[in-house]
Symmetry: none
Subunit: 176 residues, 2 copies
Amino acid sequence: MDKLSLDTLGRHLQSLRLARGLSLSQLAAAAGIAKSNLSRLEAGNGNPTLDTIWRIAVQLEVPFSQLVEPVSAPVEEEGIQVRLIDRGGDTPQVDVYWMSCAPHILRVAETHTPGAQESVMVISGELEAGLEGETRLLGPGESHTFPADQPHLYRTGETWATLLVTIVYAAQGDVL
Amino acid sequence: MDKLSLDTLGRHLQSLRLARGLSLSQLAAAAGIAKSNLSRLEAGNGNPTLDTIWRIAVQLEVPFSQLVEPVSAPVEEEGIQVRLIDRGGDTPQVDVYWMSCAPHILRVAETHTPGAQESVMVISGELEAGLEGETRLLGPGESHTFPADQPHLYRTGETWATLLVTIVYAAQGDVL
DNA sequence: TTTGCTCGTTCGATATATGGAACGCTTTAT
DNA sequence: ATAAAGCGTTCCATATATCGAACGAGCAAA
């Protein structure tokens, strides 16, 4: 296995542990593993068992993929990057976009077909979005829905923001 | 570690392998592990090393959270296809999946981390989703949000359904 | 200072995950 | 029919992940 992955595992472990103010001994005890084991893992040596990873992940309260998979760094682009995820059929048509915004951008969206609704779900970072004058500040996991046929905007602050944008073209029913 | 998790790992492994038309021997050889090892893992016994899991995940071409975490498990029923769209960082972590369901499938999802919230946005088709006994019938552009740490289900009717599933792992803020 | 506590690391012993060679079974070819 | 090749499983030897104990360092209270 890639040695790099073990390194990242170690660094993730340590940073997550420190972020929670836990000592190595405390975490090891809480997880029910030997601290010698945890020590080696944080050092980047070792090749933990699923059982071990599981116990640690439970204690750190993270889905365990977070321990081993590299943090997705925002692509080095300027401005805004948009990707069409999927597009539904008719009645009503639904478009889903994945979107990544650099810090300090302001985007005033064009108006769409009358009756269209737009939903924004923030995946990571922070984003201000909504109708002009009625925007909301959204963090990860938060969402906002507004009419897409009126001028609306996206604005980022100090950080990158990744989000999903869903556009429903025929106004209908409840939307998120 | 939870024996249940090892079972699910085994079932995931086998279903993913079969879905790709690989024999156990082939996969083991391709991944560079002994087939005795893989055999034991699929049987639900054993406690694989991170190295082993990694090698298998690479060969199956799945982000390896798919092997162990419940949401993206097209296990028992075929006819469900799941793709990880994006994954946010910490505080809170947000996972976004694209999902396609065949007609007449019923999927009872396992529980995630306590406090997790799950949002379903239907892109096309129709889908019944929500907590057991509190499901809602959703059409294109409609969405539903419910706690993900309780048993919940997806059910399709006569048609295919395409949807987005967003999981927010740390309960926090409005998810309406 | 000394004592006592906790920290993270390192060491040897043990438990066990892995690899490799059998095995019996089924399928395909001769 | 027999042979040959592939399948998945089960055994044992070995590599190694884990454990528990001992260690030195840092810190606070006596």
